[in-house]
Amino acid sequence: MSEGFIVVVAVLIFVVVTLAKGVRILPQGEEWIVERLGKYHGTLKPGLNVIIPYLDKVAYKLVTKDIILDVQEQEVITRDNAVILTNAIAFIKVTDPVKAVYGVTDFAEAIRNLIMTTLRSIVGEMELDAALSSRDKIKARLRESIADEAVDWGLTVKSVEIQDIKPSASMQRAMELQAAAERERKAAVTKAEGAKQAAILEAEARLESAKRDADAQVMLAEASAEAIRRVAAAIGDQPGPMMYILGEKYIAAIERMGSADSAKLVVLPADLQETVRGLLARGKLAV
C-alpha cells in the first residue's frame, strides 16, 4: 500500500466525520444553542445548519413550541384559615432561548415553582368564598406577578388556568354542616314566626268576640229596658192585667219549684194578691 493511498483514506475519513458532525438539520419547533470553546456562540434555527465540529458544541436543544406545564395540586390556606386544594396549568413559550438556558438551570421547573408559590400568596390574601368564586381575578394576578421573572428567563407565559379550586375534604364536610345548620336555623325561625302569627290572630279573635259580646249585652239591656218601658206604658194605671201576668208567672215558678226532685216543701203565700201588690208597690217606688 502506497503512502498516497493511506493519506487519501485518512482525508476521506476526515471529510466523512467532519460532515457528519458539522451538518445539523433541525426540525421546525426546535432551536439549538451552540457553544464555541465553551462560550455561547449562536442559536441554530430550524432547517439545515453547519457548525464546525472541533470548535462548536451543541450545548442545549430547546423546544420553542408552546410548552404545557402542569402545576401540581397543592394545599393553600386562605385568609380566613380555610384549606383549599388548587392546581393549575400554564402554557409557556420560550421566546429567548439564550436567556432560557443561561438565565436559570431548569426553566420549566422554575416557572412551575414560581406559579405554585404565587398562587399560594394570591389565594392566601383572599377569603375562602372569594377564592372559590374569582378564578379570573386569580388568573390575571398570577400572570402579572410572573411577568417580571419571565423576562429574565426569556419565557412568555401565554396563559395560566386554574384547573381545580376546591375545599379540602374536612373543609367540605364543615361547609356542608354549615349549610345544613343554616337550613335548620331557617326552619326554626319560620316555625316560630308561624306560632307568633297564630297567637296574634287568636288574641285578635278574642278581642273581637269580647267586643261583640259587650255590644250584644248592651243591646240586650237596651231591649229589655225598651220592653219594660212598653209594658209599663201599656199597663198605665190599671194594676189588673199586670197583676194577672205577675200572678201567673209567680204560680208557674212555684209549680216548677214543686215539681223539682229535691223539693220537699212548697210554701205558698196565703195572701197571694197582697204579696203581688206589695211587689208592685215596691216596683213603683223604685221607678
Partner: protein
C-alpha cells in the same frame, strides 16, 4: 486490488439508501459522488484506487458545497414555532402611552401569543392611539416602535 465500476455503483446506491436511515443529510452526497465515480471508472478503468478515492472525496465535497449554495439555510418559509415567532412585525394599536420608563399597553386586532392586550416597552415616547410595530418579545412584555 482495484475497484470495478459496478462496485462504485452499488456502493453509491447503498449510501443513498443509508441516507434514509441516517437523518443527517450528508451521506447522500457521498452516494451521488460514488455513482458519478462509477461512470468515471467505466470511461477510464486505468485510474488507480488512490486517485479514485481522492476524486470521490473531492466530488462529495463539491456537491455539498453546491447544495448549500442552492438551499440557502437562512431562508424560512414560516416562523411558526420559532422562538421569536410570527409576533415580530405585528402591528397593533397603542391604548396606553409608552415612554422609556413607563410601560404602555398595546392592543392587537387578533390575539397575539394568547392575549389581545399586552404590556409594552419602548425606547422612545409614543402617545396613545398610535400604531406600533412589535420588534421583540421580552418575557411578558413586548417591545414596540412607531409603525
Amino acid at each position: 486490488m482495484n475497484i470495478e465500476w459496478w462496485q462504485w455503483a452499488v456502493a453509491g446506491i447503498v449510501l443513498i439508501l443509508a441516507e434514509l436511515a441516517i437523518p443527517s443529510f450528508f451521506v447522500i452526497w457521498f452516494g451521488v459522488a460514488a455513482l458519478v465515480m462509477a461512470l468515471v471508472v467505466l470511461a477510464a478503468p486505468a485510474l488507480t484506487l488512490t486517485t479514485q478515492l481522492a476524486l470521490w472525496t473531492a466530488l462529495s465535497l463539491a456537491m455539498v458545497a453546491l447544495w448549500f449554495r442552492v438551499f440557502k439555510p437562512g431562508f424560512h418559509k414560516t416562523r411558526i414555532g420559532t422562538s421569536a415567532g410570527e409576533v415580530i412585525g405585528e402591528v397593533g394599536l397603542l391604548v396606553g402611552a409608552v415612554a422609556p420608563f413607563q410601560r404602555g399597553r398595546v392592543r392587537f386586532q387578533r390575539p397575539v401569543l394568547g392575549a389581545e392586550e399586552w404590556v409594552c416597552l419602548a425606547e422612545s415616547e409614543i402617545p396613545a392611539g398610535e400604531r406600533v410595530r412589535v420588534v421583540a418579545v421580552e418575557g411578558s412584555f413586548l417591545k414596540v416602535v412607531k409603525a
